[in-house]
């Protein structure tokens, strides 16, 4: 169906089936309803051209208002509802001192209420405002666009909202500002949903170009990036990442250059111009070989101020160094002279003669001496400005100059040369004698000798023990340990020959070797004595301390005092015969315990006594010897 509609008339070009057209003066409504059960697409295409023209009039506005309503409804399952709206709104005004306004209010809505269906709404819109070659007029283009995608409680569905907006403003008019303000709000919220994330992706390209003279191109980019999450156990993260990346493969130079020029100019009086620039740049090279990596930062920070009444400070630090090469001569003279009056026999007058010693010392400083010359220069200049009604400001220029010269020198050890000049003046007829006292030289030498002190400490150790048993007190059981003392006495033997009784007591001759004479007697009486007589020295000190000493080689005398009773007369006589025969000779003695002794009988004069009749002879003697 085709319809041509103007404001004055409506012409139906061809009548369609099942359609109805309502035409009024202000709007045109086309009602087309398709009702069928088969999958058939319903297509509605509307091309509306609205033109309002005023020609040759002054101060008359040309207004054209177009409010179209375009709806496509599809209630059929598994079908697609498409609604395409192409709208061209143009307002032109070629007259002077007039305004051309073009307003488009457009609503595009797609609602899907069925299950597992997708509601899509695409809106492509181009708004152009052109004001060619007009003076002192501004061209404004405003787009207010609201796009909403709402998903009511769907499960496992995603609500997406994509908004692409391109706005360009070109001004070719001289001395006219071009402003482009882009306000964009993009929000995605998830309420009372679990395990879902709210993501906002915002890409902005903001460019402002001013190509005309005496015009300023301003590009302000304000970016607010916020992600909120009201769900518990979730973190709210807001990240802004700006990445400038240049990637080159195959061994080519990889460079990433950021050139920033932050210029702030101020043309207003009594204000200061500040420029703060903080820049961080990082260039990375990942897994590329034989590739140079360059990171260049060029910063230009310039402060320009053409405003009067502002002070300018500049500090100049100058260092001036001078090296002076000059010899230094230092001399000292000491004259030890006397003036004497002597009689001159030639003139027969008294004349004065100078005699004595002269001592002089001189020293020449060699080498250059460095002289450090520091000049500190500071200048402050204040401009003078005539402000007319505001008065006249004075101009001051202060120049402070301070000069300081320092001389640093290092004087080495001085060497003094003493020249002795001895002068002897002879007088005629007299001998001049000059004696130089003998110089005594005394040298004192202190000899420090190194003495060695030695101190040896002998440390010995000894180990002893006690192993107490039930028969310890009645058996031969000395507890003999060890000692490292070489001067320790020889300990007693650990064991002793078993003592066992033998029937008799024997005296044998000689002391060693074969026995040639032997006397057998009964065992001695009880009460025999075993006497130990050792040679030792006992001394007491003045303090009463007892000192006992015995040399090991000193003799140890052992005596046996024996007495025999019940001897017969023959036994007593044999004993005396034996003693008489071997007086003073070494004999062997085998005692009643079968122990062998070797020694002599020291008291042969001991009498043999007969205590009664019969075998009641008693004899006794003392044997001195040693046990073998």
């Amino acid at each position: 169906m085709g319809i041509r509609a103007t404001q004055e008339y409506v012409a139906i070009l061809r009548e369609g089936d099942g359609g109805a057209v309502r035409v009024t003066q202000h709007y045109l409504q086309v009602l087309a309803t398709i009702s069928t059960d088969v999958p058939v697409d319903a297509t509605s295409t509307l091309v509306v051209t609205q033109l309002a023209e005023r020609t040759g009039s002054v101060n008359v506005d040309a207004e054209s208002v177009l409010v179209p309503a375009h709806t496509a409804t599809c209630n059929i399952k598994m079908g697609v509802a498409e609604s395409t709206l192409a709208l061209t709104d143009e307002a032109e005004d070629e007259g002077s001192i007039s305004f051309a306004e073009s307003t488009i209010v457009l609503t595009s809505e797609a609602v899907g209420t069925g299950f597992r269906q997708t509601a899509s709404s695409e809106l492509t819109m181009t708004v152009t405002a052109t004001a060619p070659f007009q003076l002192r007029k501004s061209a404004q283009s405003t787009i207010v666009l609201t796009q909403t995608a709402v998903g009511h409680a769907p499960f496992y569905e995603t609500a997406e909202s994509t908004l692409e907006l391109a706005q360009a403003l070109v001004v070719n008019v001289v001395e006219t500002d071009a402003e482009s303000a882009l306000v964009l709000s993009d929000a995605a919220r998830v309420i009372d949903e679990y395990e879902l994330s709210a993501t906002v992706t915002l890409s902005l390209t903001d460019e402002a170009v001013g190509m005309n003279l005496h015009s300023y191109a301003t590009s302000a980019l304000e970016l607010v990036h916020e992600a909120d999450s009201h769900v518990k156990v979730r973190s709210a993260t807001s990240t802004i990442t700006l990445t400038d990346t240049a990637v080159v493969e195959h061994a080519r130079l990889l460079s990433s250059e950021i050139e920033l020029t932050d210029l702030a100019e101020q043309g207003i009086l009594y204000l200061s111009a500040e420029s703060v620039l903080v820049l961080d740049q990082i260039a990375r090279d990942v897994d590329i070989h034989v590739v140079g990596e360059t990171s260049t930062i060029e910063l230009t920070d310039e402060v320009t101020c053409n405003i009067k009444m502002l002070s300018v400070e500049d500090t100049i630090e100058l260092t001036d160094s001078n090296n002076v090469i000059r010899p230094w001569r230092v001399s000292a003279e000491n004259e030890l002279t006397t003036i004497e009056e002597i009689f001159d026999i030639d003139t027969f007058t008294m004349i004065e003669v100078i005699t004595g010693l002269q001592d002089s010392a001189s020293y020449v400083l060699d080498g250059p001496r460095e002289v450090e010359h520091i000049i500190s220069f500071s200048q402050v200049a204040t401009a003078q400005v005539d402000l007319g009604a505001f008065g006249t400001e004075t101009a001051e220029s202060t120049l402070s100059l301070t000069q300081e010269a320092r001389l640093s020198k290092q004087v080495p050890a001085e060497t003094t040369v003493i020249h002795l000049i001895q002068t002897a003046t002879a007088q005629v007829g007299y001998s001049a004698v000059s004696e130089l006292d003998t110089l005594d030289v005394e040298a004192e030498v202190i000899v420090v000798r190194t003495l060695t002190a030695e101190n040896e400490i002998e440390i010995t150790h000894a180990v002893s023990y006690i192993f107490e048993q039930s028969d310890t007190l009645c058996t031969y059981s000395p507890f003999i340990g060890t000692t490292s003392d070489p001067n320790a006495p020889t300990p007693p033997p650990a064991t002793y020959p078993a003592v066992h009784g033998t029937p008799g007591f024997r005296l044998q001759y000689p002391g060693s070797g074969g026995v040639t004479d032997e006397l057998l007697l009964r065992a001695p009486n009880l009460g025999n004595r075993d006497r130990l007589s050792m040679v030792r020295i006992n001394r007491e000190t003045r303090g009463g301390t007892l000192i006992v000493f015995a040399d090991p080689i000193w003799p140890k005398v052992e005596n046996l005092l024996l007495s025999f009773s019940g001897l017969s007369a023959d036994e007593s006589q044999d004993l005396m015969t034996f003693m008489e025969t071997h007086l003073g000779e070494e004999i062997r003695l085998i005692d009643w315990e079968d122990r062998l002794w070797r020694g002599v009988i020291v008291n042969p004069q001991e009498p043999v006594v007969q205590d009664g009749p019969g075998c009641r002879y008693t004899a006794s003697f003392e044997f001195e010897g040693e046990k073998v």
Partner: protein, 121 residues
């Protein structure tokens, strides 16, 4: 129990003896020499011995123990001896008796008397 240990202080040998017989003695070694002046004044001259005391013990030993003591005396008669007497008192000193006599008082039993001078530690 009576204990003899020698030499002191590096003790190497220890002999255990039964307790001594009664009539053991303990005496001071300090001496006092009195001098009386003609005016009747008594002067005393004292000589101390550093606290040393003179002790004597008599033992009645078995024959084997007597032989052990005999061997001990032969080895350490001139050495410093440490004696722990029957009262548990420890003495350090020397044997001063000379000679030492072992007397057979009964079959298998010997008597011996030891003289000792030393300082109790």
């Amino acid at each position: 129990m009576f204990q003899l240990a020698a030499p002191h202080p590096g003790i190497q040998t220890i002999s255990l003896l039964p307790n001594p017989q009664f009539s053991d003695g303990e005496a001071l070694t300090a001496t006092v020499t009195p001098k009386r002046a003609t005016d009747g004044t008594l002067y005393t001259y004292v000589k101390t011995k550093g606290g040393r005391r003179k002790l004597n013990w008599s033992f009645r030993l078995s024959r084997a123990k007597a032989l052990e003591l005999r061997a001990f005396l032969l080895s350490y008669f001139a050495s410093k001896i440490q004696v722990t007497d029957h009262n548990g008192r420890v003495w350090v000193g020397n044997f001063t008796g000379n000679p030492f006599e072992l007397e057979s008082s009964a079959p298998g039993l010997d008597n011996i008397t030891i003289e000792f001078e030393g300082v109790e530690t």
